[in-house]
Structure formats: C-alpha cells, structure tokens
C-alpha cells in the first residue's frame, strides 16, 4: 500500500523531528530573556524584541551594543552580520518555498531558525518531489518558535526578579561563546577570528563603535586570503586537483 502523505501528517512529522533539539532552544530562550532584562530593557520591550525579532544570537549580540549606547546603524549592521547565515539558509530553502505567496514567504522567512533549516534541508534534498514540503517545514519551525517564545517569557519574568548587581547578563555572552566555538573549526576561520579579535581590541576606542565592523571586514579578508593560499597549495601539490 503506498504511503499516504497528508499536510497534517507532514506537520506532525516536523514537530516530532524538532523535538530532540527543543531543550537547547528552551535554554537559549531562557538566557535571552534574562539577558534582555539585565541590559535595561523593560519587560514590554523584551517581549516585543523576542516576538518581532525572534533571533536569539542576533538579539544577544546586540545587547552589549545597546548597553554601551552604540549608534543605531552599528547595532543594526551587527545584527545583519550575525543574521548573514540566514541568507545562506534562504538559498537552501528557496527551491522548496519560492512558489508560495509573497505573504506566506514572509511568514516562512520570519519563522526560519537554525533547527528548522538544519533539519529541513536534508529531508527535502532526499526527495524534493515528496508533497507538503511546506507543512514539514512549518512543523519544524513552529515547534521551535513556540518553545522559544515560552522559554523567553519565563526568562523575562525571571530577569525582572534578579538583581542587576549579580551580573547575570554574562549568560548572554556565554551563550554567544557556545555558538561561536563550534563554528571555529577550519584554519581560515581560526585566522579570521584572530584578526577580528585584534582589530576589535585595537578599535575599542574608535568612534561610533566602528571597531566591530572593522573587525568583521578584517576577519573575513584574512579568512579568504588564508583559504585562497590553502587551495593554491593543494593545487600546486597535485596538478589539476581542486579548481
């Protein structure tokens, strides 16, 4: 008997698939909630940020800048850079979701989060003709979204009760470190991050907190140079090897 694939069934499959990562999402949401409050946002502002922005890493990355009263365009640019991975994710999702109505595409894009993309694309690539890809994606994305909003709300409520002198906004910085370490695996990334660190430290006194932007430009440039020299070496090593 052929498998009957319904939209509802695919949505449920998505929710089941995302379950194992939800404890991680919940921990992040909790930390973000506390960190937003301890940076000086009111509960209303924190709720609005988590609901409208819905981007844990970008939210946490902006908090030290907001606390330091950095100019708005630097904060916005920083958020955009932290969110750049979503451009890559979007390229992966586009073949599956591009044909939806513009309004729905806006919603599907808003709901995109690391777990949704990471769990969706291998299943979609396995069989792009399988029906109701949108429902599978929605199951993954909505499961993650509900968990995030709930845990963030708990974090905001907790944050309002914790004295600021405890310095627990450090949790947000620690969460960013936990995000960064697994990304720093290849030699170009290590070199790029070192360059970014140096420029960020040297540029800490630059006007308008431009040190951060300079750090990213320097880091990406160094990473690309190291990467290029590595591929050149491997090409010299074995003629006609990689591009």
């Amino acid at each position: 008997m052929p498998e009957v694939i319904s939209a509802r069934g695919e949505f449920r499959r998505g929710v089941r698939l995302v379950m194992p990562v939800l404890p991680g999402t919940a921990a992040w949401g909790l930390v973000s909630g506390v960190a937003m409050l301890k940076t000086g946002l009111t509960s209303e502002q924190a709720f609005a940020m988590t609901l409208l922005m819905y981007a844990g890493s970008a939210q946490l990355a902006c908090l030290p800048l907001i606390a330091a009263a950095a100019p708005m365009f630097v904060t916005l640019l920083t958020a955009a850079i932290v969110n750049l991975r979503f451009v890559i994710y979007g390229l992966g999702l586009a073949p599956a979701l591009r044909r939806e109505s513009p309004r729905l595409r806006l919603l599907l894009g808003y709901l995109n989060a690391d777990p949704a993309y990471i769990l969706f694309t291998p299943r979609y690539d396995e069989d792009p003709t399988r029906p109701h890809a949108r429902s599978l994606y929605l199951g993954l994305a909505v499961g993650n979204w509900v968990t995030w909003q709930a845990s963030s709300s708990i974090g905001i409520a907790l944050g309002a009760r914790i004295p600021t002198t405890w310095g627990l906004e450090l949790a947000g910085v620690l969460a960013l470190i936990a995000l960064a370490i697994p990304l720093i695996t290849t030699l170009p990334t290590v070199a790029g991050c070192l360059a970014a660190t140096v420029v960020a430290l040297l540029g800490a006194e630059w006007p308008l907190r431009l040190g951060i932007i300079g750090a990213v430009v320097a880091g990406v440039a160094v990473a690309m140079i190291v990467e290029t020299s590595m591929t050149d070496e491997s090409r010299d090593g074995r003629a006609g090897g990689r591009r």
């Binding site: 502002q45 595409r105 936990a178 960064a180 170009p188 880091g219 690309m224």
Partner: protein
C-alpha cells in the same frame, strides 16, 4: 538609552532580521550568489561573535584588564573550559554563572 530610542532600535532590528531571513525567498530564481561570496558570508558569523565577546570580557572600565577583579573574564574562562570538555552549552552557562557568583562573593 531612552525608552523611545530603545523602541525604535527594537523595531529597526526586527526589520533588518526579517529582511536577512525572508529576503532571499524573494530573489528571482536565476540570481545566485557566487560560492566565493557564500563562503565570505560564512566567515562573517564567527568573526562578529568574537569581535563582540572578546573585548566585552577583556575590557573593564575602558581598558584591557587581566587582573583578578575582572571577575567576568575568569568566570567566562571557567565556562569555556566546561564547554570544551562537555560540549554542553547549558552546563557551560550554569557553571559560568556559578563561577561568577562565587568570585563576586569572595571579592
């Protein structure tokens, strides 16, 4: 920062985030990013994270401060060690905050 300024930054951040996330779904199918540009985009993520985190921890009162009274730095180092050993972000954050609290109470 005033309430009004915070509200406008929250709204603007939400717009930027939506644009980076949903924007690609609105590009025409024939428009593609070159592999080189895609790799550059990947490197930007870790770079901006260290550029935020490292000065935030190393600098204390406007200058690099490695003295023990910069307790956030030492709590974070403990947390990094925990993360490298266990690969658990949750455990790292809990131990890091406990270390911070212990250092604060000692100091």
């Amino acid at each position: 920062m005033s309430g009004m300024a915070l509200w406008s930054i929250i709204i603007a951040l939400s717009c930027v985030t939506l644009a980076t996330r949903a924007g690609v779904l609105f590009l025409p199918p024939w428009l593609r990013l070159s592999p080189r540009l895609q790799r550059a985009l990947r490197y930007a993520g870790p770079c901006v994270l260290v550029a935020i985190v490292v000065p935030d921890l190393l600098q204390h009162g406007g200058r690099v401060d490695l003295a023990l009274d910069n307790i956030r730095l030492y709590a974070a180092l403990v947390a990094v060690a925990v993360f490298l050993a266990t690969r658990s972000a949750a455990l790292m954050i809990v131990i890091g905050l406990l270390a911070l609290t212990a250092l604060r109470l000692i100091g």
